[in-house]
């Protein structure tokens, strides 16, 4: 497969997942702002923007829900917003159109076309729609992509993005303290609430909820599960090959995953924002490593003459 195509597939996976997860995170935070009258809106919005990697407005400006929505939902030019990442996903699909099934291309293209209409919707409607479109794209990927390298790259992108986003979600809780939604809302936003309640039979404790989102080995949105999934994609792509030193993506992902898995839970919880930032950095590092290894086209090759 062409590196360029593989790269596009990888990013389709990431962008669609990003739109999905951002919609979930925003939905949870906005619902909380509505349902719980004791939340400090400015603080909650600031921490949300910060954790999502967006630049917060100046200190003296009061940040409102509308600002958060503008930055993280509607902005079509920034790949950090929902509309932006859906646009970017479609751009990437356009570059890889010949290898995508037409169903997948149309799924992404229709989504992009419909973005124009969404500005009139209420945020919950928009978020629900985004989740639906992401689920549709995910379903089409699973149903129509041959299980060769192309599928691996799509899933690889999706899994890395998911690990990153779940880490951000957990970080919003840790950073904002009492202004952030409770763990219940956190779990809800990943669709994990019911699974969590069943796993721990209704006991609600901060420690358990954090543990579930971080470490649960069977819930597909937990950080550890997503990291394992990404690792297994890399393993399939490189079947049998040795790791290539410190910077190998598999090494990076494996290191952060085992760090989460084997560190005492209390230690993790004591330093959650920093730990989650580490996860995000590891995802970014792995993404760079993957790029170096598989998509080297972006690196300008200097002509150094014939080595022989």
């Amino acid at each position: 497969m062409l590196s360029r195509i593989a790269e596009s597939l990888f990013w389709i996976g990431r962008y669609v997942e990003r739109a999905d997860d951002t919609a979930r995170i925003l939905d949870a935070h906005l619902q909380l702002l509505l349902e719980d009258p004791w939340v400090e809106e400015d603080l909650a919005c600031r921490s949300l923007l910060a954790v999502m990697g967006a630049t917060a407005p100046a200190e003296d400006v009061v940040v409102t829900r509308q600002d958060v929505l503008d930055t993280l939902a509607w902005d079509r030019t920034s790949p950090g917003s929902i509309a932006g990442s859906l646009t970017a996903a479609r751009e990437n699909a356009r570059r890889a159109r010949e290898v995508l099934s037409s169903e997948l291309w149309e799924g992404l293209n229709t989504t992009w076309n419909a973005l124009r209409r969404t500005t009139r919707w209420t945020p919950p409607e928009f978020f629900a729609w985004v989740r639906e479109r992401a689920a549709l794209v995910g379903g089409v990927v699973d149903a129509t992509t041959p299980r060769d390298a192309s599928h691996q790259f799509l899933v690889l992108g999706r899994s890395i993005e998911r690990a990153d986003m779940t880490a951000r979600l957990i970080a919003t809780r840790a950073v904002a303290g009492s202004a952030a939604p409770g763990w219940t809302t956190m779990l809800r936003s990943c669709g994990a609430y019911e699974a969590y309640l069943r796993t721990y039979r209704g006991r609600e404790a901060d420690r358990l909820a954090a543990e579930f989102l971080l470490l649960d080995p069977s819930f597909p949105r937990s950080v550890v599960y997503s990291l394992m999934r990404a690792e297994s994609c890399l393993e399939t792509l490189e079947r049998g090959a040795r790791r290539r030193g410190e910077e190998d993506a598999r090494t990076v992902l494996g290191r952060i995953r085992s760090g989460l898995e084997y560190r005492p839970m209390l230690k993790l919880l004591g330093n959650l924002p920093e730990e989650m930032a580490d996860v995000q950095r590891a995802c970014s590092e792995a993404s760079d490593a993957i790029k170096l290894r598989y998509f080297p086209s972006g690196v300008s090759d200097d002509w150094i003459g014939d080595p022989w």
Binding site: R18, L33, W38, S47, G53, R65, P79, A88, A171, A176
Partner: protein
């Protein structure tokens, strides 16, 4: 723009939003100021749009009520009912007081029966109650709680005129609508939620689970709680599944349970698993074919024996119906004084006990202006409203009352308060009642802020039960006391947080090739031309 409130009739009944209009003032009662302003700014189409969104969200979520085998979305009215924090702080302790008295009554009735010996309640009254179950004698609940969940129906006819209409301590239903109403309303009217401080209700499943766990048989470390439902065709099935889901416990049917050796188990793929607490939504009579109706397919044979052996807790307890018998209801103020040594905070609606010959005579005489109800009824079944009944219906009622005076009570027609409700293209007053829910964990009785407001959707209609075509309103209790002061005390994580920037595909942004690719296109197009 047609004002939704245009032509709103005032003064027929006590309206919770619209007070009298003294010169110049608009008469909007304080808790409703924001709601009135917001609703007043909408026109009929906009409100209709939002109301449709509410209904659609209910159909999608499956928030339905089963009427005669047909699933319908439970009608949720777009105008909320608002209670001031101070009003609520009067009402909630009254509800809790009542639950405590009924708990004491049940413990006594199924124990020493001192209340009879002391002459507060006639023995006849208890023994003749259809829901007094001898099977429940001698069962001692683990933490002394028999009423884990109660729904006390209250009505009001003036600002301070709260009265208790009836007690429900068997299997009160409706709390799921409180939870889902709130979610739906928050999505449809975000502007109101951001402006008003409304006490949240989402805590209920956690409180309920805590109460059920606390009621587990002694010595059980990590109790297994289940919700027992009659099955998917029950009218309240949505509620059963919602509660099980939100508590994270198994939703079981009778056939999933098996009793052996005075213990209750559920059948799972991994073999039998022990059950410690059963939050049952099956009526007493169907719970155990050994103790009650032998033809019941909904229960589990041997359940009562297991409960008597103390290996399983049934919540609410069997036999609670004796406490919400409508004739016992007339004694509740006395029972509060007798058991708690307190004055009742909430009054009853005046009620005639038809067993007293003078009362029966008076009621038969004044029947066209009274309401008569069966003592063990629920869901508004069998109620005869005098002013609305035909001559033939009244005659039939008289015969029935004479034949079975123990089976009926009579009350004056109470003018329920009204709240503006969407009717066609405008808002009109419709009668409402309120069912607050109380959860008793053995230590204290917690009352869910708000509760289920049921509204009679037809004009002038006084029966609000959902089985009689009633709808509901989201009930908002405005916050007052409980502010989060801790936030001000210690500002959390004040250091500026710098998030990790998101990765992007470099080809998306820095596109060096972009202009060249475009150029290629243009050159070719130009060449062809």
């Amino acid at each position: 723009m047609a004002d939704l409130f245009e032509g709103y009739p005032r003064g027929a009944a006590w309206d919770e939003m619209m007070g009298p209009e003294p010169d110049g003032a608009d008469g909007i009662r304080a808790p409703y100021q924001h709601v009135h302003r917001t609703m007043g700014a909408l026109d009929a189409d906009e409100l209709r749009l939002r109301a449709d969104a509410l209904a659609r969200s209910y159909l999608n979520q499956g928030v339905t009520f089963d009427i005669g085998g047909e699933e319908r979305p439970f009608p949720l009215d777009a105008v909320p009912r608002v209670l001031d924090g101070a009003e609520w702080d009067h009402l909630a302790p009254g509800i809790a007081q009542r639950v405590r008295a009924l708990e004491a009554l049940l413990a006594d009735v199924y124990g020493e029966q001192k209340v009879i010996a002391d002459g507060v309640l006639p023995r006849r009254l208890i023994l003749s109650s259809a829901h007094f179950h001898r099977a429940a004698m001698g069962i001692h609940p683990a933490n002394g709680v028999r009423v884990h969940v109660a729904g006390i129906d209250v009505i009001r006819d003036s600002a301070d005129g709260w009265r208790v209409l009836e007690d429900n301590v068997r299997v009160p239903s409706g709390v799921s609508y409180v939870l889902s109403n709130r979610r739906a309303m928050a999505q449809s009217f975000p502007e109101l939620f951001s402006r008003m401080r409304i006490r949240p209700v989402a805590d209920y499943p956690r409180r309920l689970l805590a109460a059920l766990t606390a009621a587990a048989p002694p010595g059980v470390d990590d109790p297994v709680v289940v919700v027992l439902t009659p099955g998917a065709y029950n009218s309240a099935y949505f509620e059963h599944s919602l509660l099980a889901r939100l508590m994270g416990v198994e939703l079981v049917e009778g056939r999933d349970l098996v009793c052996a050796g005075d213990r209750v188990y559920m059948r799972t793929t991994e073999g039998r698993r022990r059950v410690d607490v059963i939050y049952r939504r099956v009526d007493d009579e169907f719970l155990d074919p050994v103790a009650f109706r032998p033809d019941s397919l909904l229960g589990c044979p041997g359940l009562i024996n297991a409960a008597r052996a103390g290996t399983v807790t049934i919540a609410n307890m069997v036999g609670n119906g004796v406490a919400d018998d409508k004739l016992v209801y007339t004694y509740v103020p006395d029972l509060i004084r007798y058991y708690l040594g307190e004055e009742p905070i909430l009054a009853n609606v005046d009620t005639w006990r038809l067993e007293e010959p003078e009362a029966l005579a008076e009621v038969l005489d004044r029947l066209p202006e009274l309401v008569v109800k069966p003592v063990d009824g629920s869901g508004g079944k069998g109620i005869i409203i005098g002013p609305a009944a035909s001559r033939a219906e009244l005659d039939a009622a008289r015969t029935r009352l004479r034949a079975d005076p123990r089976g009926w009570i009579a009350q004056p027609v109470v003018q329920l308060s009204t709240v503006p409700t969407l009717a066609g293209d405008s808002l009109r007053p419709r009668h409402v009642d309120l069912r607050p829910f109380a959860v008793n964990d053995g230590e204290n009785v917690w009352v869910l802020p708000g509760g289920l407001t049921r509204v009679a959707l037809a004009e002038g209609q006084l029966v609000v039960n959902s089985s009689q075509g009633g709808g509901s309103k989201d009930t908002w209790v405005l916050g007052s006391g409980r502010r989060r002061t801790t936030v001000a005390a210690e500002p959390p994580a004040a250091q500026p947080v710098t998030g990790v920037p998101l990765d992007t595909n470099p080809h998306d942004t820095a596109q060096g090739q972009h202009p060249q690719q475009e150029q290629q296109q243009q050159t070719r197009a130009g060449g062809e031309a």
